[in-house]
Symmetry: C2
Subunit: 424 residues, 2 copies
């Protein structure tokens, strides 16, 4: 079964918006063990659309078309498909009724232009869109089924699992069960992970993939068939054994999300005192609804004055050791924790670059501390040759991992292969 | 001149990484007044690459190929091009020397696999890559020039303006001068902007485009030819006149960046006290190198306790008016400013959702205040039906705009068309 994708819309083609639907779709299909063989992005010109539908229908079995189903004059996917097939557009009475119901339910007057959304190519099979006014549909042309979906991400992401995947599974008898297990890793390059996992014997039906989402790399174990699925747990244990502390979460896209759930589950509170991470550590947690239950405060104490006045760092400490030092981050964390008596506090202070480094403390030197009710853990890490953004990302991730490990009763400070550390 | 783009690489096709090069390229070409007609994304299979090079060479004048120039066995662009053209790969002695120099300069041993990067199709014209080991090149096949560039964004983004654009300008005599002016807008939907600007008479040679980059919409005025360029300034004034306070910056991609430069230029200092924006306001400024010069502190005072203890908000104020109120954000801003005696302080407190709303203060209610040495300006805005992320983005943007306007000597509080406000 050869699957291709056609993305339509000037705003995608012209770079006005980054095509996140395409990446999401390919990734989602990979989770089902199905590869997208080619992706074509075209604008809103009718003749271009007709040409690309005809041409690709000779080469692919299924073509997922995204976009161009809206009510405006730019939205030409249905018309182009009808022309490509050489048939008229006809009104789908079921969808017209749905449109009328939708508008009356939302107390809105339906513009005449919306009726266009019920016009489908004559041979089209309607495909339900449960959350919008753009009607999905599919049409067979030459070798291919062309499957039309709206560009609105929220609608698209409902229709793929609910409509598209069941359709191709049935149409192409893809009835083998599949399962994906994702392991989030920190502090290991992709080539390093590949080297280490090359010794891993993959049971039949299991494939291994990588997905980079800075500062993490996600390992994907994909199993096809009951035997492969049954072997997955053992395989996950082996990956844990080989990578050790490099694996920081399972089936979570980031450490911030892992930590969010862990803090809620354990009922513990957190404060943060950030210097070089500059609010990133706090902000990534605040992104999750419900974080107010554990996050007491996040203090971005960029200036020395703020470190002294708000966190109670001793001026002598700053004079003796500097703002980027074990001693300073320890006092920052202890001060932030004590302020509101939270269970934990994390602190960072470092040189994110591109300037500000010295021989003793080059760009990428970052101090990180975790204060608990019983003491403070701290380390100074080395992140040379990383961008400012990546230094901040990695520093936040290491800080999260310290607290994650502490919450799980493990030693908070560990080595990560591609992250150096200063000796105490 | 018909321009197409071919993006290669399994990691792009499979959604392991979002293809930001493609969006950046299309956007950059638009700034030159050149449209990308079609974009095709293929994996790393040799036969797929050969097929797509041959096929598209019959339809386009120029094809920008991105990716597949690295040293590994997956990198097949040069080999595929040689096969498509029916010619051998030959070693480019100039690039081999460059490789040897590059490795010796960086004190690294060159792996044998790197020599592959000097192997180009026989008829290829070398294209310089000043910042990496992947050699660019171009080959003429059928109607098209295929122009090969590395996938590494940093290298790609150097080669497009330095090599690709001058090449096509010369090859296709695109010697008309062009200029782009970008106006950043806040608080106006795209259809609203279109409506308002529909009365605008565009001089010949000027086109108008929109680019959404939440929470902003950027207006692009593109001028081709001396007369059009000369008319641009007047046109920009007209857009300012029509949109009024909706235009918040010129030729800057975000208000954070505009404010960063403004604070540096004016030598003023800033503190922030964030509740619902949760560090986002601070973090977007910290992203710019040099922000430590003006940013004294950013306090994420999520809990009431933190608001009282750190910022000196009166418990009575919280009891009487609640955490999301004019009174509270005013005390937050005044407290944050006084702490380190900074010139300004911004504060936010709101209900970002999806839960936590009440009838009186529904989700999307956000209080924002700006404290100066002479007083406090504050407002309560309404952002209904926005996601948690967008409420935080818009709140940060409105706060930035208040300070931007204050720094320019303008009234800090204004109406934005699509942002409601509570009456005092």
């Amino acid at each position: 079964m050869k699957l291709e994708m056609i993305c339509t819309g000037e705003e995608v083609l012209s770079g006005q918006i980054v095509d996140t639907n395409a990446a999401w779709f390919a990734d989602t299909m990979m989770d089902e063990g199905i590869e997208v063989a080619r992706r074509i992005t075209v604008g809103d010109r009718l003749e271009d659309l007709v040409e690309v539908f005809r041409e690709r229908s000779l080469h692919a079995d299924v073509i997922l078309v995204n976009g161009g189903l809206g009510p405006t004059t730019d939205d030409l996917s249905a018309q182009a498909m009808a022309e490509a097939k050489g048939e008229p557009l006809v009104e789908n009475t079921e969808w017209r009724q749905r449109l009328e119901d939708w508008f009356s339910k939302h107390n809105r007057v339906m513009a005449r232009s919306n009726l266009k959304q019920a016009m489908l190519p004559e041979s089209a099979v309607m495909v339900d869109n449960p959350v919008g006014t753009a009607c999905g549909f599919r049409v067979k042309l030459n070798r291919a089924w062309l499957f039309f979906t709206p560009g609105v991400p929220f609608e698209f992401k409902r229709m793929i699992p609910e409509q598209f995947i069941p359709f191709i599974k049935q149409e192409f008898q893809l009835d083998t069960a599949t399962k994906v297990k994702k392991l989030l890793t920190l502090g290991q390059g992709e080539s390093m992970l590949q080297d280490k996992l090359s010794e891993l014997e993959l049971p039949e039906g299991v494939t291994l993939g990588y997905r980079s989402s800075m500062p993490y790399i996600e390992i994907k174990l994909f199993a096809r068939g009951e035997a492969a699925i049954a072997a997955l747990d053992t395989l996950v244990s082996k990956v844990h054994f080989i990578l050790g502390t490099g694996v920081v979460a399972e089936d979570k896209p980031s450490l911030a999300e892992e930590l969010h759930h862990l803090l809620l589950a354990k009922g513990k509170t957190l404060s943060a005192a950030e210097s070089c991470t500059g609010g990133m550590l706090t902000s990534q947690l605040v992104a999750f609804p419900g974080s107010s239950a554990y996050l007491m405060q996040g203090l971005v104490t960029y200036s020395n004055e703020a470190k002294v006045k708000i966190l109670g760092v001793k001026p002598q400490t700053l004079d003796d050791y500097g703002a980027v030092s074990i001693e300073t981050v320890e006092e920052m964390a202890a001060g932030a924790r004590a302020l509101l008596d939270s269970d934990y506090a994390l602190s960072t202070s470092g040189i994110a670059g591109p300037d500000g480094g010295t021989d003793a403390k080059p760009v990428g030197t970052v101090g990180i501390a975790l204060a608990t009710r019983y003491g403070v853990h701290s380390q100074m890490i080395k992140l040379p040759r990383r961008s400012r953004e990546l230094v901040r990302q990695l520093s936040s991730a290491v800080a999260y991992d310290m607290l994650r490990r502490e919450l799980l009763g493990e030693a908070p400070i560990v080595d990560y292969d591609s992250i150096g550390r200063f000796a105490r």
